[in-house]
Amino acid sequence: MDTILEVKDLVIHYETDDGRVYALNGLDLDLREGETLGLVGETGAGKTTLARGIMGLVPDPPGRIKGGEILYRGTDLLRCSNAEMRHVRGKKIAMIFQDPMTSLNPVTNVGVQIAEAISNHEHLSHRDALVKAREMLEQVGIPAGRAEEYPHQFSGGMKQRVVIAIALACNPDILIADEPTTALDVTIQAQVLDMLRELREKYSMSMLLITHDLGVVAQTCDRVAVIYGGEIVESADVFSLFERHLHPYTQGLLNSIPKLNEDVDRLQPIEGMMPDPTHLPEGCKFCTRCSYATERCRTSHPVMREVASGHSVRCFRYEQEERHEDR
């Protein structure tokens, strides 16, 4: 499978009054054509900064892109002008945000909001754009007759469908979904995820699904990347990751969720909390919470090592297992 989006060594910091926030610290990620890649991490790990970075929406100030490349079909988006980025956003790469309540305009009806996205990128008359908007509503399972209604007349799940309709209206290559179902109830979440999966296939898009829910990842994604302290600590296809989670942080995450098919008396949480992003540990970012940490972890920074086909991990414990293709 070809790579459609490649993020290389991306560094984004926020310069705030309280010091420099090290949001992304040399992040590498590749999204392949037609796949769904899950990006898993907790609050403050840098998930949303990455999504904003790809979209060219990092607020500056305080955000600063310090280095790296974001290659979309070979073009570095970081070198694009604002005008060029406007052709990419919405048309090539679209994004849906976590909270459908705040991403819609409350004083405009939903049909017009979808049509607005369409007219931004396609030479259509206002009337034709509205017709297409109604088609998009049908695509996401909302009767076209509701196009003249306003966001407050829709439930949370329905609003998220409208947001998806806006994102897909121009048939983008890549959809970035930032916690698209976190605000929704579980039965509605199931409906929305199923719909996203169908539409992803129908429009042959690639999807970057940002989430903290490992259940959603297991059921929706082809590959997974785990992010901690602004860098990827483990990446693999979904089957190998759930079968053999290598990084102590990934292990901790999976152990701390209660599982429906197992009974445990006590959960095993990860001790401590996320490191302060203005003062990240020097060596491995996870060393302050890791039960295996040694002196070396505190002083030197581990690199990503591929330990099995397509399965890479950033941890000194797997140094011996590194795969050498040429051996």
């Binding site: 907790e42 609050t43 439930s155 949370g156 799940g157 329905m158 109830d185 579980v186 039965t187 509605i188 979440q189 199931a190 409906q191 995820l193 199923d194 903290h212 829910d213 490992l214 259940g215 959603v216 990842v217 297991a218 059921q219 929706t220 979904v238 089957f239 759930f242 901790g252 995450l253 999976l254 152990n255 701390s256 969720i257 209660p258 599982k259 429906l260 098919n261 009974d263 445990v264 006590r266 959960l267 095993q268 949480p269 990860i270 001790e271 909390m273 996320m274």
Partner: protein
Amino acid sequence: MRIDKPLLQVKNLKKYFQTPGGMLHAVDDVSFDLLPGSTLGVVGESGCGKSTMGRAILRLQEPTSGTVLFDGTDVTACSKRELKALREQMQIIFQDPFASIDPRMTVSQTIMEPLIIQHKMDRRDKKGLERKALEIMELVGLAPRLVNSYPHELDGGRRQRIGIGRALVLRPRFIVCDEPVSALDVSIQAQILNLMQDVQKQMGLTYLFITHDLSVVKHFSDEILVMYLGQMVEKCESKRLFAQPMHPYTQALLSAIPVPDPRVRMQKIPLKGELSSPIEPPVGCRFAKRCPYATSACTQKAVLPREIEPGHFVACVRAGEL
């Protein structure tokens, strides 16, 4: 078999709200018993009335009708003074650790406030208050150096520990936990759940644990009550509910949980549409419109919970045959 007297008995509890569109039935005729030292999980989707029920039990919102017996005392018939005394034994932990604690009070002030309100300690006894605060902070896993910190200096997990400390300081017997871990990250969530289990054992607490997270509720509860549009649709022992859900809504709800294992492909029971309006709901089963098994009998008269097997209550006319 242990024969315990229930600590809490809820009988035909109703809470209606007057709205411009008619009467909103937030909690509609819910009854259950809760044994001392146990945990009852309450699950359901947003808007099903689970939080309103928790608040109505504590009379943070006045119930429209029904009775709540706490250790034999009728909470709903108490005077204000009696209720204040009773609150010493009944506390609540709120969902949002950012909104539920006063930003202008320090950690120790927040934790100590209930003691002052209940006249257990004197506001002027600074030394005594601080000593007590440190004791509670140790219990809930807050470092002593945070005693004079303000909430904005702390992350969500620590703030929720303050909320728990505040609920525990009066040594209550019963706590309503309204989505206490929903706002927290998974690794922190596990820490807080373990803490709540530990203090439950230590202090013999009884919990009403309200949540929308079904994996959490299974882990945490002895019994589970499933709510749909203000009504109880199913209630039974936690493991049995997951092994053998009998109400079609429970079945659909459980089938929609994403399993954190890619080898397990979910057999989802698709539900048509979304939650209908709780304003002037129709007679009969409120789930009938979305139910794949609905018949004409479902919508003719009110469907009350029946005890299908010992301890397993289901509000469905077709329960047992499905």
